[in-house]
Amino acid sequence: MAVGILPVQSDPTLLADIRRYGKFDPTGCYQCGSCTISCDLVSDFASFPRTSIRYSLLGLRAPLLANLEPWICHDCGDCSTTCPRQAEPRISMATLRRFLSGQYERTGMASKLLTSRAWYFGSLASAAVAVVLLILCFHLWYVGLPLSGLTTPLGLEHMFPIMTYYTLTVMLFPLLLLLSRVFRIWRLTMSRQQPPIPFSVYAKEAWMYVYQSVTHSLMRKCPERGRWLGHWILALGTVMMLTIKVFALRWFQTDNIYPWYNPQRWLGYLAAAFIFYGVVDILIGRVQAKKEIYKETRPEDMVFPILLLLTAGSGLAVNIFRYSGLAFAAHCTYALHVIIATPMLVVEMPFGKAAHMIYRPLALYFQAVKERAAQQAPAAEVVPHAV
């Protein structure tokens, strides 16, 4: 037995747990390591996908939960094309990310949404129905329109005051939920590091979180450059849109028509264009399913981009109707916009695919911390797989 390392108990049920989150079928694997060799993101400190998959197959739960490597993986699929057994490690890594997302969330909600299609689509639909009801109630009771008066065109202005609070709620609450998991993720992945990592290392590497969030720079090491650009533009558009909506809603949601050169006019369009570009790029890829990374697309993978697209599209339509003076159409489209955007924000952000916006940079940050800690303490023997 290796000296100084406590054996980990093998839990044969782990595999079944993982498989609830999607396809995890690397059973053809004979640990040849071709996948890890083929990966451009692998480093001396992060050797995957073989290690992550091996943890799963051997039922090593704690090491798997502590494993940050599924987040370093950017899904390019080189491992799957290289694998001599066609065990599709890329798909397994994607499943592991969902599994880990499920484990990072304490209430079990994420786990439910990620493992059950009924739960997932049910939640989306419920959220949408709730918004419809809210809109109805708002009009019938808060504004005080009669039931028959719902077809009366109103200006948008009457909704803005309440929408400010509404928007802040549906956007910030999911974000806060996500951020609330940071500690749990730290505990799972970092707390048992031996020797313990001093705070200073965390502080020194803190910029990494921002840097990774803003640049996605790791993805640029992936073999296909175009993918990074598409993803980065999509992320940029989404962040721009969120920022506008959270911090400048009053400026944007107005019946005042600014001149065309005013940023109020084009900033939103620019963000929407970015989103369109990014989403269409992804959707075309997923529908064609030619590239390795788009193989094995699940319906759930399509929902977030589609919702993003519809949200941006309906927002744009509201503006067009408004500038064309079609007040009623603008009003209805606006309601639709809110009905689409809300489920996306409250379901996808904290529990679904969009959570990787927070998780991935966090994991990369932690990884950077680990690496720095390892480099700072060369005297202590670093056992890469010890947890």
């Binding site: 037995m1 290796a2 390392i5 406590l6 054996p7 980990v8 108990q9 093998s10 044969p12 595999l15 059973t27 053809g28 694997c29 004979y30 640990q31 040849c32 390591g33 071709s34 890890t36 060799i37 083929s38 692998v42 480093s43 001396d44 050797s47 073989r50 290690t51 091996r54 943890y55 197959l57 051997l58 039922g59 090593l60 090491p63 290289t82 001599p84 057994r85 066609q86 056992v383 890469p384 797989h385 010890a386």
Partner: protein, 1494 residues
């Protein structure tokens, strides 16, 4: 098994398909079992892949050295017919009586004449990549794959006639002369040209060259410039001569009328056949149109004259100024000559038939050219019009220019595309300033005041519908008349022959075009003996067609004079298209090199030759563009080189039907095409090679003569990487190729032997599969020698630009991604089914399995799906040499039982004349010294040796032979023996290893004792090793001959002793192997004594309940027991022990005790099938904890259907299943005490794991292993197990798993080597894969039989690769677990193999022993027994007996065991024992002769 269905007796012959080591083994076993064998091989020689190997693992024996004797044995076996270049097309009939249709490709060498001397190779100009050297070396188009090839006959790689040659009307061998030019062999190129073409310098200039139109290279860039090359050769050798006829002159005289190309060609061909033709020429110069129709700037007159002079020089008479019909009457001609060929050409000009054609200044083209050529005055013009579009018109126009015209215009009624003239000529004319006017038809000539022509009125034309010639017909445009001014006009629109003088008067048919009528094939006219051809029959045509006519006429005349049929077999005369396709992919673009020409601005003023011809460099470069379409270039130089006259270009494909009773399929395998793994760079990176290529590089006979160099820069590599599993163990090939781990290990070891310790050899692998006998030890030895094993599969290789080194990326310790640079990467390519395996399977009607190999089943491992068709070797599953050999023997034993009734029916015993008694005669020695073509005579002065031999005592006759081994020389030797009453024969030639049996046979046929023969090896030992010192080689040859003679004087007749063979066998051991072997022999009609120490049959098979492949072994066991019980030939002893075994092959005596009684039996052979036992583990709590069991115990529980968890609380539960099962591999295997792999445990564990998963899918199964060794198709079960969720955890020998029990149950701790992480597993059941260990009583049996054991205690066979079931002791055979661990299928194969080998002894009534064996001289032997221990065959025993009152000790030799090695003779201090035929006196005499003492 014999077919019940067939009523007729079976055919006593078998077909073996595939001449590799498997096919060879099957053929030998069958032939020695009394069956006639046809051994069909696709290639030109047998030997298979083994012949290409350098060494074999694990003994590092030279592959060729071990197999060469077997090659010779097969090559000389009287009952084996080797059919090379043979494909089987279909197999009809049923088991016992098949009709096999085979197709045999031509060899183009007569196998009865070729002696394999190799003189042809040096002459052959065509170089090809050598298949034998995997393309790393080169061979010639005439070749033999390797020097030891059997049959030792050369083969020509010949796709067919090259397209250029086929397209040429006279079949000029374009590829032939081009190939020779490329090699700077210009003289020989000219000889090739002259074979078909007596006028090469003319043809190189004026022929229209249909060959270039057919050139394959035209499809790539431009055709090869054949005309320029041909011309070049004649320019290079201006003083060449035509070949003299090689046959005696014939009396018939033949008249040829006309000295044009047709007449000259006919005369040349006739002269070559010995006729003496006379040519009658009307003009004052010879050459016909060549002389008068073609201007000298295209064909210089001196060249034509030289050609004509050459014709005269070989005896062709040419009479100038002798017009037939005027100077000599045609009738006279017919009377004085045996045959007449009319080739009068077409010299009469066609007229335009327009007004003004007779004006002064209007001439005919031919008339104009003739006048210029004959230097007669011509009317000069300044502004000249030439009417017509043919070559003559162009020649006329260009000549007019050279005669002083300043403005020459060609008027043609169609367009350039329709012009019949050679496009090159048109270009040349245009360059010289000649104008072309198209779509203009002459209407009338206009005259000036002096009546001279002044202009031509033309009509504009347009192109209409195609006419009969296929070209669009010109149609006049009415009213489009215009006038072209001129002061001279030349009309050149065609000619017709002047037949007036001959035709009508003689009664020859004349066509409406004014030409003679002759049969197009034979050129016969209406008059017997009169033939006609050339322009006078066809109308004006190109030169080469005239020559074709000449050739045809010559052939017809020859046949006519010999009263042969004029038509048969002449289909291919004249141009045709070849049918084959030439693959031009990968041919690099390289445009044709044009001949330099004179400056067009000035050349139009002189008659100097326009084109100046190639320089030698240009010619060679241009010649190298040839794509060698026909492969063999048809140059026939080998024919000249071959003194045995063995070359035969006329051979054609042959179809033969064979009648056989059974078929053994051993077609071998293909190596995986590594190009398919694109990322590994094979084919792109020169230093990435396959293992077979590396094998050739390692081989002393390989492309680099055994120097280990890398292909790119021929430098010694310092770092070599071996990549395993290329084309094995992936999704496309879900099987293991079984041999690669070991051959990579071997190659690494050998490479280090070659290049020294400093060489770095890294083997990248996943599981090291050293599962065979001695393999694990070999693997350890490699590690000790510094071969590194790195457990990582390499998916990609990159090349370093410049050095062409290679970067290998892999995962090192702790999963670190590492890069390593290597000089050479060797890919361990896997085995694939043979090429076109589906076609093959269809032709034989056998089924393939999912991997496209030939499917067999566990209990019928040598049988295909079709009855009567058996299978051996990698065609059934990837396997190593010994398994192939065993399967081949197993297939043979099946055939022997199937055809048992027909045994011996188709083989012919050899009968020799009675032997002459030579006792007391003075030696009368005949000496035969061999030239071996030039192989010996090229260095050694052979006639000198003969003269020298004649001077030596007792030599009554000596002669030299071109090839002493040829069939006619054998007859000659017999004649000389009779004529000179010889009683000793000495042959000085090559090696006795291959040729001694042949000459001994010749002596026997001559009635002389075959041992009165001696051989001197003056080839290997003189002409080969002293190649550069001919005089010393000759002197040494004399020494060797003198030595051989010295010995031969002392030779005595020897006779081979025979021993009677007891036709029964003893089989020791009643397990699966013993039962199988016993049954196989009993089915062949032999008595078998089957001895089993247990009380029931079955051995280890009793513990096997199910198999991976699904069959039920217990059913099979019951079936075997039944069959044994019912077979009256099998005498079964159970609960029995062997007390004693005495005797030797043919006559053993054995005492068996069973049930208190002892029985003594006699038998001819012994088969050892004593089996092995399972290790009883002491580790892992086995025996202490009920839940730790062995695989065998688990199997019993799984088979009982009562659940497989032993405990419930403390009591066993019948139906409870385990939640978690942990299996531990290598228990009692691969450790210090048992340093070998038990081979079967991995597959057994997987079998049981799969069974658990089938019974209880929720049970978790862990397999803790060191290397998973599921070789062959078993790999797919490993895959299946992983897919079903069995978890495989690799541990290291230094960190073995630990099993403990705590409150929660059994705990297994193991360090997973992939993660380098210790883990614990809670288990309900721990299953140990206990190894296979040899029985202790093997030692006793080994002593009885005088056979060895290996260091582990298993029996040691005679040779690990080629004799896996034999012992060094004859008559004793081995099979099953007693040999080494193996699975059921392998045990059955080995048992069947042992029975085949045993049967080859038992079929014989008596055994012939060797003649050169030891003999004891009792009077000299004092019983010191030095020889007893020395004898490697344990053939010598001590005897003690009372003689004259005292104990006398002597030794005794067992004749049937002695191999005549001579060790005893060398050790004996008293000259008390000697080897017959190698006595001390004989050897002494040789030494004295060598030292000149005698």
């Amino acid at each position: 098994m014999p077919s019940e269905k067939s009523q007729t007796p079976p055919v006593g012959a078998a077909l073996v398909v595939g001449g590799g080591i498997g096919g060879m083994q099957a053929a030998l076993d069958l032939a020695s079992g009394g069956i006639k064998v046809y051994l069909a091989e696709r290639g030109p020689a047998i030997g298979g892949v083994m012949a290409q190997l350098d060494k074999t693992f694990p003994t590092n024996d030279c592959a060729m050295c071990t197999m060469a004797p077997r090659l010779v044995e097969i090559g000389r076996h009287k009952d084996i017919d080797i059919l090379t270049l043979t494909e089987v097309e279909r197999v009809d009939g049923q088991a016992g009586n098949f009709t096999v249709s085979i197709k045999q490709e031509p060899r183009f060498v007569d196998p009865t004449k070729c002696t394999g001397c190799g003189a042809c190779i040096t002459e052959c100009p065509v170089t090809l990549p050598s298949e034998f050297d995997q393309g790393l070396g080169e061979r010639k188009a005439i070749y033999r794959p390797y020097p030891q090839a059997v049959p030792n006959i050369f083969t020509i790689s010949r796709r067919g006639v090259a397209p250029c040659q086929a397209a040429c009307p006279v079949h000029q061998d374009g590829q032939g002369y081009v190939t020779l030019i490329a090699q700077k062999r210009f003289e020989e190129a000219l000889q090739v040209i002259l074979r078909d073409n007596p006028l090469p310098s003319i043809c190189g200039r004026v022929c229209t060259h249909p060959c270039t139109a057919a050139c394959t290279r035209a499809g790539v860039d431009d055709p090869v410039n054949l005309p320029a090359l041909k011309r070049f050769v004649t320019d290079q050798c201006p003083d060449y001569k035509l070949p003299q006829p090689s046959v005696p002159d014939r009396p018939e005289r033949i008249a040829i009328v006309g000295s044009g190309p047709a007449g000259l060609a006919c005369a040349y061909q006739l002269r070559q056949q010995g006729y003496r033709p006379t040519i009658f020429e009307a003009l004052s110069t010879a050459g016909g149109m060549l002389a008068v129709g073609i201007p000298s700037f295209r064909l210089p007159r001196r060249l034509l004259n030289a050609e004509v002079d050459r014709m005269r020089a070989i005896g062709i008479e040419i009479l100038l100024d002798t017009p037939v019909g005027r100077s000599i009457a045609f009738d006279d001609l017919r009377k004085s000559f045996a045959a007449v060929f009319l080739a009068i050409g077409a010299h009469v000009e066609r007229k335009l038939a327009v007004p003004g054609e007779t004006l002064v200044g209007v001439t005919g083209g031919v008339e104009f050219l003739r006048r210029v050529n004959l230097e007669m005055p011509v009317i000069p013009g300044r502004q000249v019009l030439v009417i017509g579009g043919g070559n003559s018109a162009l020649d006329a126009a260009r000549t007019a220019l050279r005669c002083g015209a300043t403005d020459v215009t060609i008027v043609y009624r169609r367009t350039r595309a329709e012009m019949p003239a050679d496009p090159r000529e048109i270009e040349d004319a245009q360059r010289e300033g000649i104008k072309l006017m198209f779509l203009a038809a002459p209407k009338s000539f206009q005259a000036d005041a002096n009546g001279r022509v002044a202009g031509l009125e033309c009509l504009k034309m347009k192109l209409g519908k195609p006419d009969t010639s296929g070209r669009p017909a010109p149609e006049p445009i009415p009213g489009s008349e215009f006038v072209l001014p001129c002061d001279a006009a030349i009309v050149s629109i065609g000619q017709f022959p002047d037949v007036g003088a001959l035709g009508e008067r003689l009664g020859l048919d004349i066509t409406k075009w004014g030409t003679l009528t002759a049969d197009p094939l034979t050129l016969e006219t209406g008059l017997p003996g009169v033939f006609a051809g050339g322009d006078c029959v066809t109308g004006p045509d190109v030169v080469v067609n005239a020559k074709l006519a000449g050739r045809k006429a010559a052939r017809s005349i020859d046949r006519w004079l010999n009263r042969q049929d004029l038509r048969i077999g002449r289909e291919l005369e004249g141009p045709y298209r070849t049918e084959y396709e030439v693959d031009t992919t990968g041919v690099l673009m390289q445009r044709q090199i044009h001949m330099q020409a004179l400056d067009p601005a000035t050349r139009g003023r002189t008659f100097a030759e326009v084109h100046v011809g190639y320089t030698p460099e240009e010619a060679i470069a241009e010649a190298k563009r040839c794509l060698a379409c026909g492969i063999c270039c048809d140059c026939h130089l080998c024919e000249t080189a071959c003194e045995a006259n063995a070359i035969d270009y006329t051979q054609r494909e042959q179809k033969i039907d064979l009648n056989v009773g059974a078929v053994v399929l051993a077609p071998g395998y293909e190596i995986f095409d590594a190009r398919l793994k694109k990322d590994l760079g094979y084919g792109r990176f020169p230093n990435v090679i396959t293992a077979l290529e590396f094998e050739r590089i390692l081989s002393a006979s390989g492309p680099y003569s055994g120097h280990v160099l890398r292909p790119f820069d021929r430098q010694e590599p310092k770092r070599i990487a071996f990549l395993q599993c290329v084309g094995s163990r992936d999704s496309d090939n879900d099987y293991c190729s079984s041999v690669c781990c070991m051959y990579a290990t071997k190659e690494a070891i050998i490479a280090k032997e070659h290049l020294g310790e400093g060489l770095q050899c890294d083997i990248f692998f996943m599981d090291l599969r050293a599962f065979g006998k001695g393999f694990e030890q070999y693997y350890h030895r490699a590690q000790e020698l510094g071969v590194h094993y790195i457990r990582s599969r390499v998916p990609k290789i990159e090349e370093v630009p410049g050095t062409r080194n290679l970067i290998v990326q892999y995962l090192g310790e702790n999963d670190k991604k590492l890069f390593q640079e290597y000089d050479l990467v060797v890919l361990s390519v896997g085995m694939q089914p043979p090429k076109d395996v589906k076609v093959l399977a269809e032709r034989f009607g056998v089924a393939l399995n999912t991997f496209n190999f030939c499917g067999t089943s566990t209990f019928r491992p040598a049988e295909s799906s079709r009855e009567g068709i058996f299978v051996a070797g990698p065609f059934a599953e990837p396997k190593d040499i010994p398994e192939t050999v065993m399967q081949a023997s197993a297939a043979a034993t099946q055939v022997l039982s199937l055809l048992r009734e027909a045994r011996g029916t188709l083989i012919t015993p050899k009968v020799y004349p009675p032997e002459k008694d030579v006792k007391g005669e003075e030696p009368r020695i005949g000496v035969f010294v061999c030239h071996c073509g030039t192989n010996i005579a090229g260095v050694v002065n052979v006639p000198d040796i003969v003269e020298y031999a004649k001077t030596l005592p007792n030599v009554v006759y000596a002669e030299n032979n071109l090839y002493t081994c040829s069939n006619d020389t054998q007859d000659r030797i017999k004649e000389q023996i009779a004529e000179h009453n010889l009683n000793r024969v000495v042959v000085a030639s090559c090696t006795p290893r291959t040729h001694e049996p042949l000459f001994r046979n010749t002596l026997a046929e001559a009635g002389l004792n075959p041992y009165l023969f001696e051989m001197a090896n003056i080839r290997d030992q003189c002409s080969w090793v002293h190649m550069h010192e001919p005089e010393k080689a000759t002197q040494k040859s004399k020494d060797l001959v003198r030595m051989a003679l010295a010995k031969s004087r002392l030779l005595q007749p020897l006779h081979r002793q025979t021993v009677r063979v007891e036709k029964s066998a003893l089989v020791i051991g009643g397990g699966l192997s013993g039962m199988t072997a016993a049954l196989a022999l009993a089915r062949q009609g032999f008595d078998v004594y089957l001895v089993e120490k247990e009380n029931e049959l079955g051995g280890s098979l009793r513990h096997t309940y199910y198999l991976l492949s699904g069959e039920n072994p217990q059913d099979e066991l019951a079936r075997l027991r039944d069959e044994i019980a019912q077979n009256t030939r099998i005498h079964l002893f159970t609960g029995a022990a062997i007390e004693k075994i005495d005797g030797t092959i043919g006559n053993f005596k054995t005492t068996i005790s069973a049930g208190g009684a002892t029985t003594e039996i006699t038998h001819g052979v012994v088969i050892v099938a004593t089996g092995a036992k399972q290790y009883q583990p002491k580790e892992y709590l086995y025996g202490q904890d009920d839940s730790v069991i062995t695989q065998r115990e688990l199997e019993a529980r799984l088979a009982s259907g009562n659940g497989f968890l032993a405990r419930e609380g403390n009591r066993p539960a019948k139906t409870a299943v385990a939640k978690t099962v942990v299996m531990i591999q290598c228990v009692g295997s691969r450790d210090a005490d048992h340093p070998y792999c038990s081979r079967v445990c991995c597959a057994e564990a997987i079998k049981n794991a799969l069974k658990i998963k089938a019974l209880s899918p929720q049970t978790h199964v862990y397999v803790l292993y060191r290397d998973i060794r599921t070789y062959g198709f078993k790999e797919s079960y490993y895959t299946k197990a992983r897919q079903q969720g069995v978890v495989f955890v690799r541990y290291d020998e230094s960190q073995k798993p630990e099993v403990s029990r705590n409150g929660k149950g059994l705990q297994v701790a193991v360090c997973d080597q992939t993660l380098g992480m210790p883990i614990t597993i809670s288990a309900d059941l721990v299953v140990l894969s206990a190894g296979i260990h040899p029985h202790e009583d093997n030692r006793k049996i080994a002593q009885f039989l005088k056979v060895p054991l290996n260091s582990e205690g298993f029996f040691l066979e005679a040779h690990m690769k080629l004799r896996p079931v034999d012992f060094m002791t004859d008559g004793v055979f081995l099979c099953g677990l007693a040999h080494s661990p193996k699975n059921i299928e392998e045990s059955i194969l080995q048992a069947q193999a042992a029975s085949a080998r045993a049967a080859s002894v038992l079929v014989q009534d008596s055994l012939e022993l060797g003649a050169n064996i030891s003999q004891v001289l009792d009077e000299s032997c004092d019983g010191c027994a030095y020889c007893v221990d020395t004898c490697p065959y344990k053939a010598i025993t001590m005897l003690e007996y009372m003689w004259q009152g005292s104990i006398k000790k002597v030794v005794e030799t067992a004749d049937s065991t002695c191999k005549g090695c001579g060790c005893c003779q060398a050790t004996c201090p008293k000259n008390g024992i000697f080897i017959r035929g190698f006595t001390l006196e004989q050897i002494e005499a040789q030494i004295h002769a060598a030292l000149g003492v005698a």
